[in-house]
Symmetry: C2
Subunit: 377 residues, 2 copies
């Protein structure tokens, strides 16, 4: 039962540099009887030239690859044309972000494509190896601190010189999910004095285990599914007062707060920014979702009063080689659930992970939340 | 005996963000009876707003400040117009780079300005606190690694994730002066596997003390004044063969080789670059002197074969706040030699440090090397 898998070259317009397959994964999946094809140059931007992929056929004809594939792998949500070139009953594995891309979801449904959306992988321990949001967020958290460091007018570590010592920088990370914790770890590595803040008090120990002080505001905002709930106005005021002081003394702030399907929560307002130190830098990883800071512009670096606010988009793509490595391995673990040597491609929709990751199947939007949002009938 | 010191705002065209005076130095020099003036906004780009300078008068009238000053402080070599507006017998303290700026040296001579060139501070232990080349190079070495990290498609540290471990990056630093050693230290902090190379074998222990492996080529090129001598062709070939292997396996290379008054030595050629890993990055701190790598373009980031070569200029200025702090303190230590409370401004030209730092005095080019280079008569 040979399963044909085609891997797409990401479209250039989004600046996406990652690829959904790396040579190592080809090797690992070989025993399952898979025939891999990929678009010419698909891995080039992530440092995997075509000739690095042993046993993968390479073709410039995207439509032929799509028409022939049992499974199509991509990073970014594909275009409608891409979906329409796929054969009925075939499988797409990529990020889809269905709520933001209703036309894409409908095209998958109407084309009878089984769409597995990598952002829907359930956050349970058995699915950790498939959790692409986490793997990419880890890299984004690391990179955020380095972006901060190159925008700051001072260094992160304490440094002793012939002419006196330079003080270590103060780094505050707001939002202690996967990205935030990695940001704390990276800032600490570089020698900064670190503080972490999150509305979920159970993150205290994680921050402290990374050598950071935890900013205690006395407000508990533990929510569902590992994300924070929204705060009441009173809670917001209480939090704001305490945070203002920490914001004012920071040299670098990394914000990472996201609520799935909603606008990124506002963590820092214009008044707080105006009270920051001259030269202070904010890296707003919430930029794509509307920004955690007042004044953030997605994709740009702006000067607001004394501070510089960087609003990067698609940060993981900046570390394309290893972001692709982790993403391709996340997909590999999913494929190992979907494919067996005996039966070929045979997804078991009674499996919690497979059912949870599926967005569309056999002419139907299987994810309740996305279906309710874009097709309420 | 009040000494009047004027501090210039650097000209915008060079992208210079540093300033030659910080508030802390004003305070420290107060007992010597100095009246400080500075150009409006001189410290702004390095995060020192005018109102941070207590006891310093601020004026937008550059020519008035120049005409009134006993001592003028700057970072970059001043323009001819600036020198011509200074009064005869007054003192300039700044970088001058006389060999590259012969007209400037002649203007200082003809204007009877005593020019102290910060790049001429003798490299002896008593003058360490005045050594601006070293203080700025330390910061450049740190920053080079961070620039490398944001250009690389992978992370520096080893990282364990739910989907497997990412390998630590291989970092090679070529040229182990102040900048190179700081680059090694910073790459190590970030978790990279580090290697150091220098033609001077005595740098081995310094590299090793920073956790780096020393690349041994069997060639000793110890030269005068702490700099390396030029190698013979045979030596170059021997070194090249061994280095090629280390270059080919590096993810990030920082080159820092400089020979004063000469073109930067070529450390990496086009053939070696073509054998590098896809996505490898070179930060060429020799870019301003013509580059340590074939293909380096000063002030630009270029893609050459598999590699990205970054040729930054004026790197210390990117860390303007602390670069200014160190530079201003370097100058402070020099001023403490030039000025006494009893006699005011009274340089003792029999002092090795003062004589060594002086470039022009009383209508004469006092530095032998510079005089020979630009005024052989």
């Amino acid at each position: 039962m040979t399963v044909k898998i085609s891997v797409l070259k990401e479209r250039d317009e989004g600046g996406e540099r990652r690829v959904a397959l790396i040579p190592q994964v080809v090797e690992k999946l070989a025993p399952l009887g898979i025939a891999f094809s990929m678009e010419t140059g698909a891995g080039l931007a992530s440092s995997y030239p075509d000739n690095a992929y042993t046993g993968v056929s390479v073709s410039p004809d995207r439509n032929a690859l799509l028409a022939d594939a049992d499974i199509v792998l991509a990073v970014q949500p594909p275009s409608l044309d891409t979906v329409r070139a796929m054969k009925p009953g075939s499988v797409l594995v990529s990020f889809v972000y269905g709520r933001n891309n209703p036309d894409l979801v409908k095209a998958l449904r109407d084309g009878k494509i089984t769409g597995f959306a990598m952002e829907l992988v359930p956050r349970i321990s058995r699915a950790q190896a498939m959790d692409a949001l986490s793997s990419q967020a880890t890299l984004a958290g690391y990179y955020a601190v380095l972006m901060g460091a190159v925008h700051m007018p001072k260094i992160l570590p304490m440094m002793t010189t012939a002419v006196g010592s330079l003080r270590a920088a103060q780094v505050l990370v707001m939002g202690l999910g996967v990205a935030g914790l990695q940001a704390l770890a990276t800032a600490k590595r570089l020698g900064a004095v670190t503080e972490g803040y999150d509305v979920r008090p159970e993150t205290r120990e994680e921050a402290q285990s990374l050598g950071a002080k935890f900013v205690d505001t006395g407000v508990d905002a533990t929510g569902q599914g590992g994300y924070a709930r929204e705060l009441t106005d009173d809670e917001k005021h209480k939090v704001r007062t305490i945070l203002s002081e920490h914001i004012a003394r920071s040299d670098l702030i990394v914000t990472t707060a996201a609520v799935p399907g909603k606008r990124a929560p506002r963590l820092i307002d214009a008044e707080q920014i105006s009270a920051m130190k001259p030269g202070a830098v904010i890296i707003d990883l919430g930029a794509e979702g509307g920004g955690n800071c007042e004044g953030t512009v997605a994709g740009q670096t702006v000067r607001v009063g004394p501070a510089t606010i960087v609003g990067p988009v698609n940060v993981a793509s900046m570390l394309a080689e290893q972001a692709s490595e982790l993403y391709a391995k996340n997909i590999m673990h999913l494929l190992q659930q979907l494919i067996t040597k005996e039966h070929g491609l045979a997804p078991d929709f009674t499996d919690e992970v497979i059912a949870g990751t599926a967005l569309t199947h056999d002419g139907y939007i299987t994810n309740d939340g996305v279906r309710a949002a874009i097709d309420p009938t």
